[in-house]
C-alpha cells in the first residue's frame, strides 16, 4: 500500500486507529515528490523539514488521544497564489519571486487550525492567467498522464500533484475554470464553490468578481470534507456570504432517481472533439440507468462567454495588478535608467517590464484599454450587460433542472507548446468553464473516461448558487457506480523514468 496514493478520508481512518502515523504519510508524499517532481514540476516550494516537524507535532497529539478534525495529519498542497505566513507565495511570477506573506489566507488559517500538514506551494500560470500552466516564471508543469501534455491551468500544479501522488489533496483557485479544467485534464476532482462561499482573504486577487478558492481531490468524499472546512462567512472579505454551511458529507447519497439533469445543447457544437463527446454520452447513459431524468436544454448566450470573460477579467486584473510597483514587496528593477529623469515613474515601468511575463502584460494591456476613456461603454459595460444575459439563461434552466451536465473542456489535454503562441486559441479552451464564474454558480469536474491514448476526460456539473449539495450527490452517485477516478497515472510516469534510467 502506497500511503501517498490514498484519499484523505482513508488516511484519517488509519491515523485514528494508529495504524500509520502522520510522519509516515508525510514521508511517503515527500518521497514521491523527490522521485517525480523533477519531471512533473508541480511544486514551486516544497516544505520538507517543516512538514515533517508539523507531522511530528500532530502525531504527539494523536498519541494523546486528541484526534480532532478529519483533516488532521493529512498533507495538502496549496496553490502559490494563496498566502501562507512566512512561506513564499510567488503566484509563479518573478515580480513576487521572494514574497513571504506576513499573514495567512483565511482558508490557510482554517487548515492550520485543523492540523493539516502543508507540504508545499504549487505551480500555476502567472497570477492565474492561463489554461496550461505554461505561463509560469518557474517552468511548465507536465501532465502526469503524459509528460508532453499540459496539465491544464491555471491550477495545473495542484491538479498534477494530486494526480501524481505528490500530495493527498490540494487547494486551487478558479476565475474562469482554473480548478475544473486542470482537474479534468489530470483525471481528478475539482470544485469551484458558489461565489462568496469561500473567503478570498489572502487569495492574491486576479479578477475579484470571479475568483473563488476550491478543493482538488481524488474523490468526492474528500471534496465534501474540505468544503466543510473552507466554506463560511469571513468578516475580512466583504464579498463573503453570511449563510449557514451544511455538512456536505450528508449530501453523499448514492441515489439520483428522479433528478432532472439538463444537457445544454450549445456545449455539443462543432468545437468538441469526438472522444470527449463519446465519453460524455457514455456518462449520460450511466446516469440515466441510475434513474436520472436527462433532457436537452439551452443556454443560448454560451457562445459569448469567452468575449465577456476576457473583457471583465482583464479589466479587473489591470486594476488589481497596479499594486506591483516595486515599493512594498517583491521585485524592484536594478535598472539605472531612472537616474536620467522622473525617477519614480521609470522605476515603476522597469520593475513591471522586468517582473511580469507576456501573458500578464497582454491582459493588463487589454484590461487597461477596455477601461480607458472612450472605450468603457463599448467594452467593459457591454460585457457586464451580456453577463446579465448569461445569468438569466441559467436562472431559466434551473427552473426545469436540478443540475446541468457538460464536458469540462472541448478537448483532451493538449500538447505543451501547442497553443502558447496563439492567445485567442488558448482563451477559447476555457469556453465551457467560464459561464459558471460569470454567473457565480457552483460547478464541479469529475473524471468520466479516457482517450484511446490514455488521457483523462472530465465531466462538469453546474447547479444553482449555494446548491453544492446537488453537485456532490450526483457526482458521488456517478463515482460510486464507475471506476474512472480509481485509475492512476503512476504506470505511465514510472515507466518513463524506468526507460530513461536505462
Amino acid at each position: 500500500m502506497n500511503l501517498n496514493e490514498l484519499t484523505g478520508h482513508e488516511i484519517n481512518k488509519l491515523l485514528a486507529r494508529k495504524e500509520v502515523s502522520a510522519i509516515e504519510v508525510t514521508e511517503a508524499v515527500l518521497k514521491r515528490i523527490g522521485k517525480m517532481d523533477d519531471r512533473i514540476n508541480a511544486y514551486v516550494t516544497v516544505r520538507s523539514e517543516e512538514a515533517l516537524r508539523e507531522a511530528e507535532e500532530i502525531d504527539k497529539k494523536i498519541q494523546r488521544g486528541e484526534m480532532g478534525s478529519p483533516l488532521m495529519g493529512i498533507p495538502i498542497a496549496i496553490k502559490d497564489n494563496i498566502c501562507t505566513r512566512g512561506v513564499k507565495t510567488t503566484c509563479s511570477s518573478k515580480i513576487l519571486h521572494n514574497f513571504q506573506p506576513p499573514y495567512d489566507a483565511t482558508v490557510v488559517a482554517k487548515l492550520r487550525k485543523a492540523g493539516v500538514i502543508f507540504i508545499g506551494k504549487t505551480n500555476m500560470d502567472e497570477f492565474a492567467m492561463g489554461s496550461s500552466t505554461e505561463n509560469s516564471a518557474f517552468g511548465s508543469t507536465h501532465n502526469p498522464w503524459n509528460l508532453n501534455a499540459v496539465p491544464g491551468g491555471s491550477s495545473g500544479g495542484s491538479a498534477a500533484a494530486v494526480a501524481a501522488g505528490e500530495t493527498i489533496f490540494a487547494l486551487g483557485s478558479d476565475t474562469g475554470g482554473s480548478i475544473r479544467q486542470p482537474a479534468g485534464f489530470c483525471g481528478v476532482t475539482g470544485m469551484k464553490p458558489t461565489y462568496g462561499l469561500v473567503s478570498r482573504y489572502g487569495l492574491v486577487a486576479f479578477a475579484s468578481s470571479l475568483d473563488q478558492i476550491g478543493p482538488i481531490t481524488r474523490d468526492i468524499r474528500d471534496t465534501a470534507i474540505l468544503m466543510n472546512l473552507i466554506c463560511g462567512h469571513d468578516p475580512k472579505d466583504s464579498t463573503s456570504l453570511n449563510v449557514p454551511v451544511p455538512d456536505y458529507t450528508q449530501a453523499l447519497v448514492n441515489d439520483i432517481k428522479g433528478l432532472k439533469i439538463g444537457i445544454p445543447k450549445e456545449y455539443f457544437g462543432e468545437g468538441i472533439e469526438l472522444e470527449v463527446r463519446e465519453a460524455i454520452e457514455k456518462a449520460i447513459e450511466a446516469l440515466k440507468k441510475l434513474g436520472a431524468n436527462v433532457k436537452e436544454t439551452s443556454l443560448p448566450h454560451t457562445e459569448y462567454g469567452v468575449a465577456i470573460y476576457y473583457l471583465i477579467a482583464t479589466a479587473e486584473a489591470s486594476s488589481n495588478l497596479a499594486r506591483y510597483d516595486g515599493v512594498r514587496y517583491g521585485y524592484r528593477t536594478k535598472s539605472e535608467r531612472r537616474k536620467a529623469k522622473g525617477e519614480m515613474v521609470q522605476m515603476y515601468e522597469d520593475t513591471r517590464r522586468e517582473g511580469f511575463g507576456d501573458e500578464v502584460k497582454r491582459r493588463i494591456m487589454l484590461g487597461t484599454y477596455g477601461l480607458s476613456a472612450g472605450y468603457y461603454d463599448a467594452y467593459y459595460l457591454k460585457a457586464q450587460k451580456v453577463r446579465t444575459l448569461v445569468r438569466e439563461d441559467f436562472d431559466k434552466a434551473f427552473k426545469d433542472f436540478h443540475c446541468l451536465l457538460t464536458p469540462t473542456s472541448s478537448t483532451p489535454p493538449f500538447r505543451i507548446g501547442e497553443k502558447i503562441d496563439d492567445p485567442l486559441k488558448m482563451y477559447l479552451s476555457d469556453i465551457f468553464t467560464i459561464s459558471a464564474n460569470l454567473a457565480g454558480l457552483p460547478a464541479i469536474s469529475i473524471p468520466c473516461g479516457f482517450t484511446k491514448g490514455g488521457l483523462p476526460i472530465g465531466l462538469q456539473l453546474m447547479a444553482k448558487p449555494l446548491n453544492e449539495e446537488m453537485l456532490l450527490r450526483v457526482a458521488y452517485t456517478f463515482e460510486q457506480n464507475t471506476d474512472h477516478h480509481l485509475r492512476k497515472p503512476v504506470l505511465d510516469a514510472d515507466k518513463k523514468i524506468a526507460t530513461d534510467d536505462h
Partner: protein, 95 residues
C-alpha cells in the same frame, strides 16, 4: 478592430509598462485579434439590460471604529525591496 502602434504606446503608458519595439508590434497584433473577436458582443441588443458587476448583492460593510491588532511593522517591512529604518525607500519624486 485595428490597434495602432500609438494606441499600444498610450495603453502601455497608462499601465506603467515599458515595451520594446518588437513587443509593441506583437501586442498590437494580438490585441487587435482579441478585440476583433469580442466584437461579437455587438450582435446583441443590450439597451434595456442592466449590467452585472457582481453576482452577489453587495453592501458596504461597516464596523465600530475601535482599535484592533494589526501586523507588526517589522513583519511588513521585511518584504520591502529597499527600506530605511521603518520606511519603504523609493526614488526621488520631487526635484
Amino acid at each position: 478592430m485595428k490597434i495602432s502602434k500609438k494606441d499600444v504606446e498610450h495603453v502601455a503608458k497608462l499601465a506603467r509598462l515599458r515595451l520594446a519595439e518588437e513587443e509593441k508590434e506583437k501586442f498590437g497584433k494580438q490585441l487587435s485579434e482579441i478585440l476583433e473577436y469580442v466584437k461579437k458582443l455587438n450582435e446583441l441588443d443590450t439597451e434595456k439590460v442592466e449590467p452585472t458587476s457582481h453576482v452577489v448583492p453587495l453592501k458596504n460593510v461597516m464596523r465600530e471604529d475601535e482599535v484592533r491588532p494589526s501586523l507588526p511593522v517589522e513583519d511588513v517591512l521585511r518584504n520591502a525591496p529597499v527600506r530605511e529604518g521603518k520606511y519603504f525607500k523609493v526614488p526621488k519624486i520631487i526635484q
